[in-house]
Amino acid sequence: MRSSMSWSDLMEQEEFKVLTKDINIEGYAGIDVYFYSGGYRALRKALREMTPDGIIEEVKKSNLRGLGGAGFPTGVKWTFLPKETDKAKYLAVNVDEGEPGTFKDRYLLLNSPHLFLEGIIITCFALDIHTAYIYVRGEYVKPTQFLEKAIEEAYKEGILGKNIYGKGFDLDMILYKGAGAYICGEETAMLESLEGKKGWPRLKPPFPALKGLFDCPTLVNNVETLCFIPTIINMGGEQFANMGKGTSGGTRLFSLSGHVKRPGLYELPLGIPLRTIIYEYGGGIKNDYQLKAIIPGGSSSPVLSADEVDVNMDFDSIARIGSMLGSGAVIVMDEYTCMVEALLILIRFYAHESCGQCSPCREGCGWLEKILTRIVKGEGREQDADNLLRIADNIMGNTICPLGDAAALPVKSFVTKFRHEFEYYIREKRCKIENRHPLILL
């Protein structure tokens, strides 16, 4: 079906909008309208017509990938959870959406909290889980309120609690508010935080599937990932897989921001060209300036230069050119962006958010920030560019969790792809670009 259509034809069609197709219906966040719009149909289908193994099979077939950032195949992850265990099994939902540029989970919680709950309940039924923890980012005050209300409604309707839909399946949901740390979005740091401890990532193995929350087998999934489960149950795994490309099944939400005419959230099929997202959905570059660079998948993903804009936005295609699809946050930068200052903004974030547990990230991120700050103050030294690369290399791969890599990757890509800008800034004590966007550091 797809091959005969151009991407711009698709753009006009609503049929690939599966997650957000009903989201504009008034009152969709409330349980009544959600029911009326066909909500909880997938849950009834799962409970009445499907076996747990059948559900897992559909999810595997769907090629759904983890949409928190890592892109791990969801169905495969589910099978890591032991079937036979004398311990409790938990679902811990990661709502610590903190990757700069990303605003999709927040949108889902505000607009379709019941879709989220439905996804959770089906997942727990499939994996014989009876307690689901939801770890919400501390700053998400309003989404938390929406979620609290939705959970209350679901309990009232008997969709949560004992004997759901009379099928003998029990599920309790516990909402937990984080205290505002980027690191708690790392799954094991989130589990530590959930246990009431300081949010420090754990050494792996063991992985959470075997030893997670309170030392029990735990599935950790992202909000958006779980929101796709009802869709997969309704349309079948195969059809969902076909909406995407290769091993990246279905659609996903792209958080489009930066110098585009129409920034916002777009549900688009995986594999769509980056150019289409920016120029067709985003309406092109603001003021019709030239495109300079794109961060394709949240601040941790290596930056792309303008000539890489024809990459397809699926996990494999983007990995082939050395970046990551990550959280689907596309940050667009135009020709008046100073790459040195842009990198400083990113690295300030990582230096601030490094948890401080392991040496390379704790000391390295702070060092990177200091060097970049010095360059921007006009006190750069000749060796700074090489030193930035060297420090990033020394952090890469040597840390407990991916935060170290997340800080190192932008440094390596920015300095490598835009080295002339760094050298100019260091040599001339100022940015190469006339009339550049002013640097605003909060």
């Binding site: 230096a351 010095r374 407990i400």
Partner: protein, 531 residues
Amino acid sequence: MHTLTIDGKEIRVKENTTILEAAKQAGIEIPHYCYHPGLSIAGNCRICLVEIEGVPKLQISCYTLVSDGIKVHTQSERVRKARQAVLEFLLINHPLDCPVCDQAGECYLQIYYMKYGQYNSAFLEDKVKKHKAIPIGPTIMLDSERCILCGRCVRFCDEISKTSELGIFNRGDRSEIFLSPGQELNNRYSGNVADICPVGALTDRDFRFKCRVWYLKETPSICPGCSMGCNISIHYNLDRAYKASGKRVMRLKPRFNEEVNKWWLCDEGRYGYKFIDENRIERPYIQKQGAREPISWDDIMMEAAKILKSYSPESIGVIASPQCTNEDNFVLKRLFSEYLGISKIDYRVPSKLAQSGDDFLIRADKNPNSTGCKELGLLPSIAGLNVENMLKEVEEKKIRVLYLINHDLVKHMGKEAVNRALDSLDFLIVQGSNVNETTEFADLLLPAATYAEKNGTFINESKRVQKINRAFEPLGESLPDWKIFLKLAEEMGIALEYRNEEEIFADIAKEFELFEGLSYSFVGDEGVNLI
């Protein structure tokens, strides 16, 4: 068992061994900071990264378990580069205050820097400022700028002392070790955090600035503070005594013994060394017309012999010491029991002091060798005649001479009770190392050496015989207790001769079945469990 190769060397180790421990068994040292064999694995310092063939990323050897057939490299170019990088990270914000840092000389930043240092600083920025010289408890000083945040101290307080006073606060390069709100580091094991701190962040307030560590000599010994028998090293300095007003012992450190104290030592034991150089009886004294006068060893021995000879064995009581070694007590027993026929001998002094133990290293019996005294039979041969009854007999004038070794009766039994009893005595002979309230009563005062000044053995509460070693000469004219007994025997014309402690131990081994086959070399530095 697993077979693996480390740096080309094939080794076999038990399952569930980490690569770091496997390497250690093969004699290959992998640098580490956060790893401590007595604590849980933190894996945060990252300096123990090693290369495993076929594994893309370097792995931390403190956490990664061995598996069959793996080939590990600890000296490859990649590993050395990673080590150098970690060391660079740890040092960028570390102050360059080695010249005034008390840890210098036993600092693992210095030690690893010599091997893996970069030597050419690439850091041009300002260092992060943190708290310096904060006394966080009675024993420990914190310097946060020197801290590499390995977290050993935090884990010690969580897992070993189970008191959880410390935590790591803040994030990123602003992270700092500090006390939890409202706490101070004041537990019975607090001194250990200075031992396990690999850098100069936590230093021992008692030891700080007393002596540069490279001037220290060390002698393996046993803590005399209780019946646990923790293994220790006596750290002392004899060459720069003018720096410490003549004091020789600078500090005690725990010495690893898997069977006894592992890596640890309680504060009571750690700081209980001061009596070695303080308040000592440095020469023999005699009480004459209410005044104490110094006297020579020859003369005091003559006096003592005269007294012991002029009384019948029934009118002499001997209170032996569980602070003394088996060697001391064996000679004591031979002299007083075998040769002089005295039967009123005991080592157990009841104490009014509230002395507490715990379920870890601290025992309520504050003597290191009570078991030894019992096994050697330093008990009255008359049923029921313990020290309390001995004092009663003193009051009843049945005992006229009391030979008291290394006890402070006043401290343990109260001034009034002791006064009443001792007033009725004809002679009180006191042998001991330190002046105390009881020595005031002595007619003859014989200066004895401390445990740091002699060889010998103690037997701890779980019947482990362990060796103490002489670190230095006895202070002043003092002598090891066994030598005093031999002097006395000689004076009394008794043929009792030993050249050294080892000979005495050989005799003990001959006489007591429990010690059969034992010798000093067999007991070694780790000790032996008696069955």
